[in-house]
């Protein structure tokens, strides 16, 4: 019957409304079903990790596995906080990530402003080089960096690690800040220049206060990149002294094997800054990651 109507004569508003309703319900079912599947795929491993971190050792290996700890304990977290090696690694990461973020910000503000406001011979080539540094495979540079750091006696030092970490952070800082400066209207600066502002004053009193949100986002992003870095940390440190958190967690093992409860607690602690930052600056990060690659 409905087939005949649909062929025979123009659809009535009633038919259309029903079809639309069925379509909407179908869409809801499909979107919610698939969406939940993705949510489960993404979060179940995380939930399992958190659950392990909150269990007493005997329950960690329980069969069948229990997703909700029967006896909730923060013992693992206390152990992590008291673990001297982990604390030192935490401090190392903090120092290295802060140092590299600071330098990346300085280079990023100067370079980003230069690229945004001035046209000069070699500008595009330099911009592409910055982008290429970002996309450049890091594995390729470990041999020359290793030899250079050895020659400079900077192996296993904060300075050395900050220097190599810059390769990860400064291109992002320049691209993101350039994108931001591009959007600041030039008229504001022209007014300042007419009032007798020189370049450093202009940057310090006019540009920086205006770009505070962008600076914060760039700082957070670069901090997280440094915080998470693993390959450089692995190659350019040895021993416990300057070892960052990422290495400490990767080789979290002692004579008794891996204490999974403690490892998961430490992992939760290490993830917190990253999760906080990503939830704040998500949009900007995606733009920063895709912008340079899409243009041109």
């Amino acid at each position: 019957m409905s087939a005949i109507t649909s062929i025979g004569r123009p659809k009535t508003a009633h038919d259309y409304a029903i079809r639309q309703m069925v379509g909407t319900i179908g869409k809801y079912v499909l979107v919610y079903g698939l969406g939940l599947a993705f949510v489960l795929f993404s979060t179940l491993p995380l939930i399992w990790g958190i659950s392990t971190a909150l269990k007493v050792p005997s329950e960690v290996y329980a069969f069948p596995p229990s997703w909700i700890p029967t006896t909730l304990t923060f013992e693992n977290f206390f152990l992590v906080v008291q673990n001297k090696n982990l604390l030192r690694a935490f401090l190392n990461t903090l120092i290295i990530a802060s140092g590299t973020t600071f330098i990346a910000l300085v280079v990023g503000v100067l370079g980003g402003y230069g690229f945004a406001r001035y046209h000069f011979p070699g500008r595009n080539m330099l911009l592409w080089s910055v982008l290429f540094t970002k996309l450049f495979p890091r594995v390729v540079v470990i041999v020359p960096f290793f030899i250079t750091l050895r020659n400079l006696q900077m192996m296993n030092s904060y300075q050395g690690l900050i220097l190599v970490y810059l390769m990860v952070t400064f291109p992002v800082a320049i691209w993101l800040l350039k994108g931001f400066f591009d959007k600041i209207p030039v008229e504001i600066e022209e007014a300042a220049v007419i009032d007798g502002c020189n370049l450093p004053q202009l940057l310090w009193y006019v540009i920086l206060p205006m770009s505070r949100p962008a600076m914060i986002a760039v700082a957070m992003y670069s901090f997280i990149l440094a915080w998470n870095e693993f390959l450089f940390a692995l190659v350019f440190t040895n021993g416990l002294e300057r070892r960052p958190l990422s290495i400490a967690l990767a080789f979290f093992i002692d004579e008794n094997g891996i204490r999974w409860g403690e490892l998961m607690a430490a992992s939760v602690v290490m993830s917190l800054p990253a999760i906080i930052v990503f939830s704040f600056a998500q949009k900007l990060l995606v733009r920063g990651l895709s912008d340079g690659a899409v243009k041109g």
Partner: protein, 312 residues
């Protein structure tokens, strides 16, 4: 006379202004240039130099050996399997990430109320450090006490409880899943950003004309995504080529070299076998491969741009 004099003066003034501006610009970008030189040009030159040398530890004395390192790679019976494993790794992880990313983007782009919290949760694996993700999966797929095998056992599927990372036949697959788990959200975000910039009225018009969802997807949505899909593809291929963290932490390239792909191989050649010349030669080859990938992408990109230019 006076007028020409004045314009000349103005011109010379504007030239000096221009020079001043230029000097200022170079001053501003100077730190960036130094870093580029330090981080890219210098390492590339160094790597090429080392690839033709034998580097002896601990003094790092280099002796020129010509193409020795490359010949050795060519003659190494391990090179074939290494290339094959790397290709499997790239193809597997890129396919999985792109599929998951595209489907997730389409799902979360649907204008359905109450899906924002889902999107936030789906991004989480991308946000956490790769070290954490790798350890998490190592614990999940652990043979004896891992939740995956324990769950399978409790369901009576004893024979499905495999030694996921310890068995060469499943290790690669397992790490690909873990790696894609941590990375697909990035592809999703890229595509989602593009989808949200697309005008909705075209889809509406097509729907009124009687197009079904597949036709809309195939002939409207997909073509307008071609640019961002190409970008995602290229970024994922390159990151797959040099990916290191997840593999190194989960398997260390084992068992029996089953997950020893290119990036791991460079690290191990250089820093556990202390053959820095060999590692440099491999790095040069990988660098060349990355250049090839980017050039192919550049070519395709400009062709797409030209075609779109013609259409418009």
């Amino acid at each position: 006379m006076v007028a020409t004099h004045r314009t000349a003066a103005r011109r010379s003034q504007s030239i000096s202004l221009k020079a001043q501006r230029r000097r200022r610009a170079y001053l501003l970008v100077a730190p960036a240039v130094v870093l580029i030189a330090l981080m890219m040009i210098y390492p590339i030159v160094q790597t090429i130099y080392f690839s033709f040398s034998k580097v002896q530890l601990p003094a790092l004395r280099t002796t020129f050996v010509g193409f020795d390192n490359f010949v050795r790679i060519l003659n190494n019976p391990e090179t074939g399997p290494l290339v094959r494993r790397t290709l499997v790794w790239i193809a597997g992880s890129v396919a999985l990430k792109m599929t998951l990313g595209l489907v997730a983007a389409l799902v979360f782009n649907a204008k359905v109320r109450g899906t924002v919290w889902m999107r936030v949760l789906v991004i989480l694996p991308w946000a956490i450090p790769s070290v954490v993700g790798a350890n998490l999966w190592r614990w999940i797929v652990q043979t004896d006490a891992g939740v995956l095998n324990q769950t399978l056992r409790s369901w009576g599927l004893e024979s499905w409880a495999l030694n996921w990372l310890g068995d060469p036949s499943t290790a690669m697959f397992t790490v690909i899943v873990a790696y894609s788990w941590g990375g697909f959200a990035f592809v999703m975000l890229l595509i989602l950003a593009r989808l949200q910039g697309l005008p909705e009225d075209i889809n509406e018009a097509a729907r009124v004309d009687g197009a079904n969802w597949w036709q809309i997807f195939r002939y409207i949505t997909l073509p307008s995504l071609s640019g961002v899909l190409a970008v995602a593809l290229i970024l994922e291929i390159v990151s797959g080529m040099n990916s290191f963290d997840t593999l190194m932490i989960m398997t260390g390239g084992g068992p029996a070299n089953a997950t020893r792909i290119w990036g791991i191989d460079i690290y191990k050649t250089g820093f556990t076998e202390f053959n820095l010349g060999g590692a440099a030669a491999q790095s040069v080859l990988m660098f060349a491969a990355v250049i090839v990938v980017f050039s192919v992408y550049g070519g395709v990109n400009s062709r797409i741009a030209r075609r779109q230019g013609e259409a418009a």
